[in-house]
Symmetry: C2
Subunit: 228 residues, 2 copies
């Protein structure tokens, strides 16, 4: 089964399911529908088709999760997407707020060969500028030691921001607080049940809403290699 055997719409569904599966839970129909801006009925229909192709396991009423093949295809598209974004920005100077939509179209049509050449041109990066991991050509994710969301992080140990969701609004918000990729910080207090979170930044402190906190990933703050 290779990508040319499925439509671009199907590829988009697979990507969405991957994104919504993070916590080991199956992706709910409604979440997929919202993400792709289609009706729940459309999602049910598509899940049935994807299940017939053995790209997802569809437990009715329980959502969908990717099969090994589906996951491989989803990661292939995500790899394309992130490499294209990087390449356009780096090699052609396309502004960061425009690379996403361009990549959204290109990711479905580039050949594996071209992808390999773009990656090589970029020095085979493992992470994109937001810290998101770039899947490898074999369909696996690069290792992300100890990574978890800020929501899940324990208080009192030194951390480092390894990834931030690619959302302009969030990026602006964090920028205003002096937080970005690589920023060292430490959780001071965390209120339960979605209260704000206090983190120490250098010698200052700041409060973050829970919304933001679960869209930031952190890892223990020890020296580590290449995270582009």
């Amino acid at each position: 089964m290779d990508r040319s055997a499925i439509s671009t719409a199907m590829q988009d569904y697979l990507k969405a399911i991957w994104d919504l599966t993070r916590a080991g839970e199956a992706a709910p129909t409604s979440a997929i529908a919202e993400r792709l801006e289609v009706s729940a009925a459309s999602v049910s229909g598509m899940l049935k088709r994807l299940a017939a192709l053995e790209l997802v396991v569809h437990e009715p009423y329980q959502g969908a999760r990717l099969t090994v093949t589906g996951r491989r295809l989803a990661l292939e598209m995500i790899r394309h997407h992130r490499l294209i974004e990087l390449y356009l920005a780096e090699a052609l100077g396309v502004p960061w707020d425009r690379v996403h939509e361009e990549a959204e179209k290109l990711e479905h049509v580039i050949s594996e060969d071209l992808e390999r050449r773009m990656a090589a041109h970029l020095g085979d990066p493992h992470f994109d500028p937001h810290g998101a991991p770039i899947p490898r050509m074999d369909g696996e994710l690069p290792p992300m030691p100890g990574s978890r969301t800020l929501i899940e992080a324990e208080a009192g140990s030194p951390l480092r921001v390894t990834q931030v969701d690619d959302d302009p609004e969030l990026l602006r918000y964090l920028d205003g607080h002096g937080i970005g990729l690589g920023t060292p910080l430490e959780v001071v207090t965390r209120e339960p049940f979605g209260g704000p979170l206090v983190v120490r930044l250098g010698r200052g402190e700041c409060r973050l809403g829970p919304e933001a906190a679960h869209r930031i990933r952190v890892a223990p703050h020890e020296p580590q290699e290449s995270e582009s």
Copy 2:
């Protein structure tokens, strides 16, 4: 009317019609069908749709020719195609026998902005490596002084190869005769009705079949600027 308003299939039809219109004649249905490997019935159907959009003028039983809008769109796709080919070869080292199929897919999805950036990266070339003119962004062709096919060329005056059809077989054939882009030559004799053509190359001579001769374009051999 812009490209996003029409399907990629329509875009391919417009390109084919442009290619088949060279001599000022309308493109025959059968030629379009052969080129695109579809039935004549499909072409008739599509011509009707394109005519409704005022992209072609369809004189029934007499073939189709592009309207101003149709021509602009066709040239836009051709521009995309040639720039992408050049860019892939030059910036990413994609071998020449593979750029075509890659460009065929990419030409339909790149934005005008990206196209502009690729062109700039290449130094805004006016001709591709086969000497084919690259349409400008305003939808016009760059000037090609005195260009005509070798079949049409008068005997006895110094000429220069300005363009060769992009067909691997033809390229190999000409290579074997020492003919390429920029080669100076002169028609010695030409037999009427499709006989072979004798040309002088430097101090030697060679015979070319008429098939080849009308897929080579030449211009008077005087010094000229930038033809990449």
